[in-house]
């Protein structure tokens, strides 16, 4: 096995593992997987210095398909796994991945607080507006009138969750939207996201061909963001007020300092702390 140190020129396929994806043929997540491997190659990351962390869902299966370190955690808790890892091991590149259900439904609180905390990790959500793995229920990003789930036969009937809006409102430092129909574009964005200090968030529109087949049309509907990335949250907010949820591009690149405690010791032995209690 190539461990990436002897050979400085790694190609995208060097980041792929031999495990065969469980995904349905045509699932958007295949392209996201390839965007990720392209990104790692573009950045020439040492696979041993990368950790890809996920929760549960079709999209959350990604770590096993990569030849980096990985963690397939429990449903909704990928972000705190990634936060703990990065804070303790700032030398690693930490990429957290998952789905819209994992990230915005059960994991919504961690999303809010990860944006606020601004640890230098990248969060990529494959948004297909559905729970794929559990066979097609509404997720927070599902349209209120989507009536194809047996659980909500008349549609969920509630206001969708707007990931970019929430990311901005809670202080993410890099915010973008990509489309799995353009793996190269997604890879370019992901390169920028990983390079950008602090918490970076990318929503990737990634069709669930099985439970949201009309999402196949996304590739025709997405369009480049009409404006440049901004570092002004107010501008970004205004831009989102007219969002059709289909523009692709970087919305916001902030300058907040990442949260990273210094890990230098000023004591050598834990036992030195006894002194405070000595009689």
């Amino acid at each position: 096995m190539d461990n990436g140190i002897a050979n400085p020129a790694l190609s995208a396929r060097d980041y792929k593992s031999s495990v065969k994806p469980v995904w349905c043929p045509g699932c958007g997540d295949f392209s996201v997987l390839s965007a990720i491997t392209k990104t790692f190659a573009e950045l020439q990351l040492d696979p041993a210095q990368v950790a890809v962390i996920s929760g549960i869902g079709c999209s959350s299966r990604i770590p096993a398909y990569l030849n980096t370190y990985g963690f397939h955690g429990v449903h909704g808790r990928a972000l705190p796994l990634g936060v703990g890892l990065k804070v303790a091991r700032p030398d690693l590149t930490v990429l957290v991945t998952g789905g819209d259900g994992d990230g915005f439904s059960i994991g919504g609180n961690h999303f809010l607080h990860a944006c606020r905390r601004n640890v230098d990790i990248t969060y990529l959500v494959m948004d297909n507006q559905v729970y794929g793995m559990t066979k097609g229920q509404a997720s927070p990003t599902t349209a209120p009138d989507w009536a194809l789930s047996k659980l909500t036969p008349e549609g969920p009937g509630i206001n969708p969750f707007y990931p970019l809006v929430i990311a901005l409102a809670s202080g993410a430092n890099f915010i973008a939207r990509a489309s799995s129909s353009d793996p190269n574009g997604t890879a370019r964005m992901l390169v920028d996201a990983i390079r950008h200090p602090g918490f970076s968030f990318i929503q990737v529109l990634s069709p669930c061909v099985t439970f949201q087949p009309e999402q196949r049309e996304w590739k025709k509907l997405v369009h480049p963001a009409p404006v440049e990335a901004t570092s002004d949250p107010a501008k970004a907010a205004r831009r989102l007020m007219t969002d059709d949820n289909l523009f692709v591009g970087v919305l916001y690149q902030g300058t907040r300092k990442p949260f990273q405690p210094c890990l230098e010791a000023d004591l050598e032995h834990a036992a030195e702390l006894d002194e405070a209690f000595a009689i």
Binding site: P80, D91, L92, H110, H113, I279
Partner: protein
Amino acid sequence: MSTDSVSIAFAGSGGAGVLTAGNVLLEAAASAGWYAYLSRSAGPQIRGGESVTLLRVSRNRVESHDDDFRLLLAIDWRNFERFVAELPLSGDSLLIGDAEAGPLPECLAAYAARYCELPLKRIAKGMSQGRPNMVALGVLAAAIGIPCDKVTEALAHTLRDKGQAAMDAGAACVTAGMECARELPLIKLPAAPAPRAHGERLLITGNEATGLGAVRGGVRFVSAYPITPATEILEWLAPSVDRLGGTLVQAEDELASVNQAIGASFGGTPSLTATSGPGLALMLESIGLAVAAEVPIVVVDVMRGGPSTGIPTKSEQADLGMALYGLHGDAPHLVLAPLSVADCLFTTQWAVHLAEALQTPAIVLSDQSLGQSRAVIERPADLAFIGRRQTLEDIGERYARYAVTTSGVSPMAIPGMPGGQYTAEGLEHSEAGTPSGSAADHAAQLQKRRRKLTDFDYGTHWAEIEGEATTAVITWGSTTGPVREALNRRAVAGWATRMVAMRLLAPARPDAMRQALDGVERVLIVEQCEGGQFHHYLRAHYDLPAEVRTLCKPGPLPIRPQEVYTRIEDWH
């Protein structure tokens, strides 16, 4: 009731300062050479409510309360009836009240004969910066015979940030109080034991000792979500782990805190979080992940009264069932419990070691009575077993993270190790870590994860076993204090009893118990829990002698030595 020790209580409401004064007295007694143990009970108010400080000073090691209190001093009696159940008095207990605080409350009428009033407030008022609690401190010190210079030294230490004037005023009050105690019937303590070199003993709470054990064990990442009565562990660790090159992160909730710890540990850093029952309940799903993915973490549960929000400021041992069985699926893991304030250090350190060595989560069941009590303890030796994880050394042809080894422990690659890349997996998996639903992989991984725990050599640490006899008491965690004291009294009375105080609760070790109960014909099971959780656990996993008795009592009142004593005596 012990004759080597004296127990006193000091009550007052609002900002009366009974806790400060109690802690000064504790420190004074400690530096004069005595052993001592202090706990505190307060009303439901967030601040300024009534409270009582309970102090026991002794010639010998002491880490729990006695049957009753020999002296009760109240600066006022407001809401005193709230505490009466926690404050057993005996016929010859001395009661002291402030002359201006009104009559002895109804609930203490039985003790009126030994009640006397002192003009604490009046004395304080007559002095510059005088405070009744400081006068009372002097009274208490004199009443039990703590030398004046030790008290003023301790007072100076406590008030060091308040300036010389405050110290002088305090010292004057103490002197006045000692003076005023002259006429009291005194309850002298036996002489203090021989003085010890500085640093041979520590004055510490169980929560602080837990923190110390954690960092001694090698913990360098702590995640935190505050909850009573565990918060002090986290508060002590915040600056401490920082000084050792680690860090503490306050998380948004317990779901995040436990996962942060798992993430950090996956990265190679020994990690810990501390919580109480409600928080542990929230963490269970993810602790199961740590079992399946074989990531070491330590979770301390400082137990409080349950169920639900229960009685957050009082102690109980009723989270045992949850800690043992609360994970879904077959999820073997470690459960340990400190047996005393001092043992919070040892047990937590050992827990870190075991979790790291066995790549599994360890739950440490402390409780409020250990965590929030302060005691004089022997400084524990700096033990060698800093957590050591078996990490990847050679990269074979294909690294299999979950290789089925003889011990069940598989060498762990740490991110950064070239060639060690694998995916930590919560789905059932093959040895390589690839998701698998096959019966063979499932059985192999289930068995390996169980075997690594059951086959490990825990040495003698699993329990403290004392005494040779045909009657035994089995207990765990904080109730060890009163049990040990009861058995010491029985020994003095000429009756031998065996004590088995369990520190390691999971995995169950029936062989070790069989040996421990060798020759034992009957056992008494002692626990602070209404439902008999420990009793049922013992029945489930161990073979007990035919004759079994229980002393299962819920909190919040502590189990007293005499209750244990009587329960055994009744048997005859």
